[in-house]
Structures are given as C-alpha cells and as structure tokens.
C-alpha cells in the first residue's frame, strides 16, 4: 500500500502527485520509487496520488496536501509546473518540488524546488550502450513526439555514433501514444521486417508491445525496463534510469535543517542520478562486452571531466 504509519514520530509528511500510475515502469515509477525508499526506511510519511493526468486537476490536489500540512508536495508530471508555482504562492510556508523541462530550472523560488533531467545525456548513454552491442541498423520506436523525447533521441544518436561509428540509424516512428502497446508492436515488427537489429524505446506504457515484437523476431532492444514484461527481460540489453534517491536525500535533509530554498535539481550523468540499469546479457545481442559497467563508468568520468560533451537539443530541430 502506498501509505503506512511513520515509524518515528516527527517523520516528514510527503505527498507525491503522479500524472500516471506508480507502477508504470517508466517516468512515474521513477518519482514514486524516489520517495518510497525513504518511506520504507521510516523517514517519511508518504502519500502517493496517481493518474492526475491534467494540470487543471492537479492544482486542487496540491492545494489540498499543502492545506493538510504536508511538509513537501511533489508534482511529478511534466506539465505541472504552472500549477505548482501558483499553489506555492498561496502557501508560502509549505514546500514543493516540481518537474519540468530546462525552463523550470531558472524558476525555482523560496519554497519551490525544481527538478529536471538531462534528456540528451540520458539518450547519450542509452545510445552508447546500444552502440556497444555492435548491432545495426538501430530503430527508435516512440510514443508522442514531444520535446523531452526528441531531446533524448537526439542525444541517443550521438552516443550511438560514439560507441559504434558504423551503426546505421533508421528514423524514429512515433505511434502518437505513450500507452498504445499494439501500435508500438506493429511499428516494431515493421522495423524488424525492414532489417532493424536493435530497437530503442522507452519504458512507457507501450513498452510491452515493443518487447513482444522483438522477442518474436529474436531482435534485441534497449531502453526498456526489466519489469516491462518477461519478454523484455529476454531481449533488452539495458536502459538508463533516473535514480532520484540521491537528489531526494538532499531535499529531505534541507527540509529537516530548515534550509529548503529554491534549489534547481537536475539529474545528470555527472551527479550519478542518471544511471545505467537493468543490464542484461541477452542472446539476441551476443556482442555486448562483459565490461559494459566499467566502460560506462569511464564514459561518465570523461563527461564529468569535460573531455566529452553532449550537444544539446534545440526545439524546432
């Protein structure tokens, strides 16, 4: 259950509002998992509110939690920012965390921390892992054509080229829905029939469709979660996950020490909040090197040292 009594009195009360389901293996699960850990440790009292799809619907929810005296209200959805900032103005004593694109980073206020992630870097690392498999051509299957997604696949191409300059890339197919597994299945099957040897996708609602088509054809995938489906376990090389825990650790600490103020958080490779995860040795990608972990570490340190840069995506590209 998403809620349990605090083990310790005086535990922080945290509410997280998700635009989707907490067990979607994707974006919303990142948010939920990021706070659930602290709940399990008894450090916070947690309430999770799922599937508040529209920002219009989310605002009263934020407000309700703020009015109920929650210490931290997290809006975990990309279009929540306006609603969070509006609510935060009404509740100057409450604390909020909002998510958004690059734009929110500059908007953090005294009681609103912002979070975003380096989509290009996430894609870059994913592309790097994909390239390590030496599989080619690579095809992207994705849901909606949205800025954060476009940025990710822009980074992906760079990572792929770095790891495997010979890799051919097919243009992405956007099915038009992050949920529609059947269309993703059809798009994947088509790409495979056209020769794709590796399918790149994200761990969203449509992911089971990608996994099953890949499994049927004996083709590898990258970007899916191993919880996506059992098929995904058998074909997916790995993915890049947002690990919210380190950043959340800091937020909670500052809340406790009453020094919470306007942080702009960003998950990056350098701060180890974007991490490779679910790395599998799968039969469909025999050439993935055994020392993938250390190669990734190496890549991350080169990035951190500034020896390597990911070109940022700009809208309208």
């Amino acid at each position: 259950t998403p809620d349990s009594r605090p083990d310790r009195p005086g535990a922080l009360r945290v509410a997280i509002v998700l635009a989707g389901l907490a067990n979607d293996s994707g974006f919303h699960q990142i948010g939920a998992d990021g706070v659930r850990k602290f709940q399990q440790d008894g450090e916070i009292e947690l309430q999770i509110r799922e599937s508040v799809i529209n920002p219009v619907d989310a605002e009263p929810v934020f407000r309700q939690y703020a009015a109920e005296g929650y210490d931290l209200v997290i809006g975990w959805g990309f279009s929540y920012a306006d609603a969070i900032f509006r609510t935060a103005k009404e509740f100057p004593d409450a604390h909020f965390l909002t998510t958004g694109g690059a734009d929110v980073a500059q908007k953090a206020t005294a009681n609103v921390a912002t979070w975003t992630y380096a989509a290009e870097e996430m894609g870059f690392l994913l592309g790097y892992i994909a390239g390590q498999s030496k599989l080619s051509p690579v095809a992207v299957v994705e849901g909606e054509k949205q800025p954060f997604v476009q940025a990710q696949w822009f980074g992906f191409s760079q990572g792929l080229r770095l790891a495997n300059p010979a890799a051919a890339e097919m243009p992405p197919i956007y099915t038009g829905s992050f949920e529609d597994a059947e269309k993703a299945n059809q798009a994947t099957a088509t790409r495979i029939r056209e020769g794709a040897r590796l399918i790149a996708a994200n761990a969203e609602g449509y992911a089971p469709g990608v996994a099953s088509a890949a499994k049927t054809a004996g083709v590898a995938t990258v970007g899916l979660a191993s919880t996506t489906s059992e098929a995904a376990r058998e074909v997916n090389i790995g993915r890049v996950r947002v690990d919210l825990v380190p950043l959340m650790r800091g937020v909670l600490d500052r809340l406790k020490s009453k020094s919470f103020a306007g942080q702009a958080l960003k998950s990056t490779l350098a701060n180890r909040s974007l991490v490779p995860s679910d790395i599998n040795k799968v039969a469909t990608a025999p050439d993935v090197p055994g020392d993938l972990d250390s190669r990734v570490d190496d890549l991350v340190s080169r990035l951190a040292a500034g020896k390597l840069a990911v070109e940022p995506w700009t809208p309208g590209r």
Partner: protein, 341 residues
Amino acid sequence: MVTACVVLGMALLVAFAGSDVPVVLAGWWRGAFGTPYNAVQTLSYATPLVLVALGVSVALRAGMVMVGAEGQMIVGAVFATVVLHGVGPVHSLLALPLGALAGMAGGGLWSLLSGVLLLRWRVNEILSALLADYLAIELLAYLLRTALRDPGGAATPQSAPLFEEALIPRLPVPGRLHVAALVVLGIVLVALWWHHSRIAFIVDVHGQRPWLAARLGVSPASIVLSTTAVSGAAAGLAGWMQLAGVDGRLHPGISAGIGFSGLVVAVLGRNHPVGIVVAAIAFASLTTGASGVQIATGTIPASIGTVAQAVLLLAVSVAVVLTRRNVAVRRAQRKDDRAVA
C-alpha cells in the same frame, strides 16, 4: 436493483482495497464541498461543463447528438491563443472580449463542419463530429510543436503564457473561480428564457417532424446551422475560459475531457438549464471528491476513485429516473383527485 447490484460491487471493490464505504463517502463530501476552497473548486470545474452542456442541449433539441464539443473547445482555444498572441499586450477591456470572441468563432466554425455536411450530404453528425475531434487534437499537437511552441523551451508541448491582461480576473473567493463564471451564470439565465421560448419549441418540432417546422417558416438549414453554431460557440467559449481563466496557456490537455463530459451533463440534466447546472455540479464533484476520498482513506488507489465516479454517476442517474417517475405519478394522482372532485 441496478443500484443495489452496482453498489454491492462497489462495496466489494472498496472492501477489497481495505476501507469502508462511509469513510469514502465522507471523504468525497469533504473533497467536493467540505471546505470553501473545495466547494469553489467544484463550482469552477462545473463552469465549463455548464457552458458546454447548454450548447449541446440546443443541438440535442434539434435532434442532433453533438459529440464534437471536445474538438470545438480545442479549436476555440487555439483561435483565442492565436489572436491574443497576435495582438500582443493590450488592455484587458479589449483582450477579454477579443479572446472570448475568438474562442466562439473557432468553436462555431469547427462545429459548422458537421452542420454543413449534415445539410449538404446528410453526413451523420455523430460521425463527422467524432472525426473532427481527432483532427482538432492532431492540429493542436502540430501547432504546439511548431508555430505556437513556447520559445521558453518546455519539456512538454505548450504555448507561451498569455499576457497578464488577457487572463480572466479571479473572483475574490478562495479557489480558482474566475469572473467569467458570472458570464456563464448570465448565459444560464438566457438559456432559461430560451428553454421556454417559442423558438426552442420550433427547434423541438424540427427534431421530430422537420416539415412542420419548415411550414412555420423556419427552414431546416437555418435550424441545423444555427443550433450547431450555437453549440460550437458555447464550446469554443468554454475553451477560451479554460485557456484564459485556468491554464493561462495552451497545452494538449486544454479540453481535458470537458467536451465529452458536457454531453453527459446535458443528458443527465435532461436539457433543462437548471437540471444542467445541478448535473454539472454533481459531475464536477465526482472529480473534486476523488481527492477527498484519497486523503480520507489514504489507501485507496486512484483506480478505485474512477470506479467510485462510475458508481456515483449511475446512482445519480437512477435517482433522476426515480424522481421523474415519482413526479409523473404524483402529477397523475393530483389530476385524478381533481377529476374525482
């Protein structure tokens, strides 16, 4: 019996999730009406529903089922965004009517697509409106990715925020109820007049026997076009209200299912303006109450909130049916008594 069955099923589900019905109901009440803010919030949800439903009811009386409000809201909001961004910051006395007119024009024009095709080639209006909804969604997605994109660079598609003067001022109440809610109230009064007007009766007649209406000098073309345009304009106006009163900028969720719910509200309110207002508040309370349920129980996942909404909707509908039956019986009895006397 249906209610019994459904309530039983609901109770089972809730029990399954580890909570009990009174707590859920109390939570729903608290979420929907328990605090001034929540009550205002419910009203604020109800506002666009009322507007859309009033429009839909006009078309329903002419015998057309309007499922196009969703798309009309979108196109209305797009028009308003384009116009407002186009003129740039102007005084709110200009910006507000301009936005409203643009919204109505957008919604009205989009609805005329169905109206004209129905008249010209008898294209089923449910079908054309449904398809037009999807087209509007794709159009919005395209514009938000290209011409109307927020230059500030957001992670999700959205337009730049409207300038300050274009935003509808809020009423001095807790919660986000804006001044345009008063406009809607005015529209309800007009609708009340219209509902009992002679022309509305002629529209009814057209819905059942077109030739009789035609003989009164009201041509099918004028009825079909005017009723679709009115329903579209109402939806477009609602689109502007969401844009300038609630969201402050255009984004893909601008219509948020309101167009679809508006049809439900019109049916639930049986086309009567007062019925529509009551139905809209009841329907809005389904959404606002869901938060209360969650907070009250703490354990119930959102999906159960959706189930609770369905059950409440069925329960309210059954209540409406029973009340109507009672009223009819009582009326007959009264007449009987008079006849005996």
